[in-house]
Symmetry: C3
Subunit: 350 residues, 3 copies
Amino acid sequence: MSVPSRAYTLEEMTSRLGGTPVGGENVRIEQVASLSSAGPRDIAFLASARYAQQLVDTRAGAVIVNAAAAGHCGNRPHVITDDPYLYFARVSQLLNPPPPLTPGVHATATSFAAEVGAAACIDAHAYVAPGVVIGADVVIGPGCWIGAGATIGDGSRLVARVSVYPGCRIGRRALIHAGAVIGADGFGFARTPQKSWEKIPQIGVVVVGDDVEIGANTSIDRGALDDTIIEDGVKLDNQIQIGHNCVIGAHTAMAGCVGVAGSTRIGKRCQIGGAAMILGHLSIADDTVISAGSMVAKSISRAGHYTGWVPAQAHADWLRNFAHIRHLEAMADKLRRLESRLAELEKKGD
Amino acid sequence: MSVPSRAYTLEEMTSRLGGTPVGGENVRIEQVASLSSAGPRDIAFLASARYAQQLVDTRAGAVIVNAAAAGHCGNRPHVITDDPYLYFARVSQLLNPPPPLTPGVHATATSFAAEVGAAACIDAHAYVAPGVVIGADVVIGPGCWIGAGATIGDGSRLVARVSVYPGCRIGRRALIHAGAVIGADGFGFARTPQKSWEKIPQIGVVVVGDDVEIGANTSIDRGALDDTIIEDGVKLDNQIQIGHNCVIGAHTAMAGCVGVAGSTRIGKRCQIGGAAMILGHLSIADDTVISAGSMVAKSISRAGHYTGWVPAQAHADWLRNFAHIRHLEAMADKLRRLESRLAELEKKGD
Amino acid sequence: MSVPSRAYTLEEMTSRLGGTPVGGENVRIEQVASLSSAGPRDIAFLASARYAQQLVDTRAGAVIVNAAAAGHCGNRPHVITDDPYLYFARVSQLLNPPPPLTPGVHATATSFAAEVGAAACIDAHAYVAPGVVIGADVVIGPGCWIGAGATIGDGSRLVARVSVYPGCRIGRRALIHAGAVIGADGFGFARTPQKSWEKIPQIGVVVVGDDVEIGANTSIDRGALDDTIIEDGVKLDNQIQIGHNCVIGAHTAMAGCVGVAGSTRIGKRCQIGGAAMILGHLSIADDTVISAGSMVAKSISRAGHYTGWVPAQAHADWLRNFAHIRHLEAMADKLRRLESRLAELEKKGD
């Protein structure tokens, strides 16, 4: 994966990506690296002028800095840009293009696709059911299953062993990792008088917008009646569960192990920390930040940063302290009673 | 998925499913829908007479109501039944039968099955090991792996990319979603004096009853010595982990992301909320309800509703409040001391 | 799975595994079992002399005991050893060897491997990309995907449907369960001024040591720049998420559903309970024990046992008590004020 595709001068780089090159006429950059591990063919970045000391020791062939830090670069070739981290991301994309693929349907794949776009690749042991529409430059990786009537937009890549259930629609430039399951049945049952469960067929689908990334072994359920919606630019990490009929707003990012129960609407540009759990039928405002491990049980109508979990402590301390957590109300009562007794005494004393 | 199979009159519907049809001689119902999105060929349901106002605005061709709400239907065709939601589930099943399948072994599948029942389908790239017994009307979907000697009961459907380890037994009419893994090794190791781990072979299997649904990317481990048991009618959502030697009682339902550690016995008809975590070697009474996100660390001998988690709050408030959670015991001590000092003062004052 | 491979006398057993055989010249042991379910051809173990009463009732053909318990065995054949549970693990391994496999590449598999060791098996519908190096006695199970340039060490077994991304390196004698994903992209994005996300290519890999077990549907992300490291002897249960650039120290064990965010270093020989969540960029000392369900948000520099979660209680009690958890600071303030008012009164009273 770290085989360089080709080498770039700072001039070539900045002519494609913007930024101001300083020096480096004879430098050829092949790869990105951290300041501490970079070598003479690598470019690194400095997040902030505060860490400028690190510029002294790095062996990087060039660095990406903001204007404030540029003065600390000495003779080292550098690129000046407003947001070095963002620039670094784009340089890395330039230096690490996706691996080239062989278009066409692999001999071991089974495809009944209704339409397959130009340069699309359906790789080994993939199964594409009837009625599927596959856009241009799509990669259906080894062992993927695409159910009947699903659509996969231009430039999307399903890495390997991805399942897309019938009727689901994936937008353009999706990146979906191994083991992800898009469109399995939502968890919908009616209880019988005998307390068994009667299945409610899940007749909605999953609709995924453009530029969405979905992590390994993540599951997104199809809608019960209406659809489950993942809007443009959403980024989902691994092992996430999205219940039926959720709407995840554009450019929201969720870290690993998050669970969102059914029919919850999460706003745009939210950031949901790992293993956070969001109950069903809630509405979360745009631009909300939820800390990792937090349990959200009520709607959030105002953007902000919300948290709720117990910090780990030494087990013996936890045992002692958490003996009292079951008695918080009793404690509050005791406090109230003490207060009134004290007030009584104070009155007497007057 | 929302392609209607055929249209039904209320008369045809009620002659199959029970309930009393009122009006609707000329109505042909093709699909279920919510009151708000239904059109003239859809049937919707009213959960309770309290929401009867919604009956006024809906465009549904017919509605399902209980006797109390029937008076609010006006001229709208309706079906009267005791439990509209349950009835709705059954109507939806009638209108949305499973997709038809082509029986037989797909050309790309590999099957060494010992027995394959009538009309069973072993789909593309599935692998069925020697000694497997497959019942009638079973679907082994694309990319499934069925290990040696496993059995799959009549009418079961493994949607795609399901793994069933050797020797596991799945009952009748199971529905198992993509990515589920049934029968991987339980997590069993003995520690050596050098603090490395010696594997304990997991020689039990998983036994799954009838009418069980298992969600996407859910894992159920095989037993260490005895078996892991999933009883009839259990419904498991996605991303669930069931440890070795657990017994999950009949008709228990678990929402997504639940974890149950090894050797725990969960009663019948329990409801376990999403991301709840149940420790090992516990026993949970029949009909217990566990709230989402709760941690259960002790056995529960009496049915009831149990909860334990921290509600998320504004981060700044949480920081302030949870600085004290590590000091609950100190707080309780302080309270006790204040109380005795106050009692002392009160005595003096007398 | 419980088909015995062959029968052993205690003499044969102890000559391979150590321990002192007592009696049992005519006993042939075929399988391991618990004391309560064992029959005359089974061997069971007694964890501690405290439970010696169980020796009276068992029907086991032989038992494994420590020296302290040996006196309670009566005429029953037994093996004396320091650690009966560890010995039991080794006996079970002897009695339950892995199933025999047919070396070679299955007709339905697709392999472009650069090197395949002796007696290796690439099973049905597996896909092995160019440049992959597969060691001796390796099993690439049905439906596995091994990306370009990956290496799989001698004696490793990928059971079925395992994904190994390009360039990742798996050591010797690994056991990797169905649905595991090794080397998907870490969750790395830079935010644009428009609040969308720019992907940071993940150019590190995953490096897995020797004797590692990885559970079903567990995901381990590749590194962003440097690699993600799983050291020798690590045991990971199911449904675990390991973020990019983590280092998991040798012989650390993690139970199911654990999440470890990116760039965290976990020490050697740690034990992490199920569903524990460890934030990113932390360092956890060797030999640390984290209770199930705990949230770790700070580095742990001293080995010990750490815990942080809320015990479930009856829902009504929880509602009452947790109304106050949002007001712990107010409670602490009130306590402080009461204390000073009381001190004031006490002074007056003097």
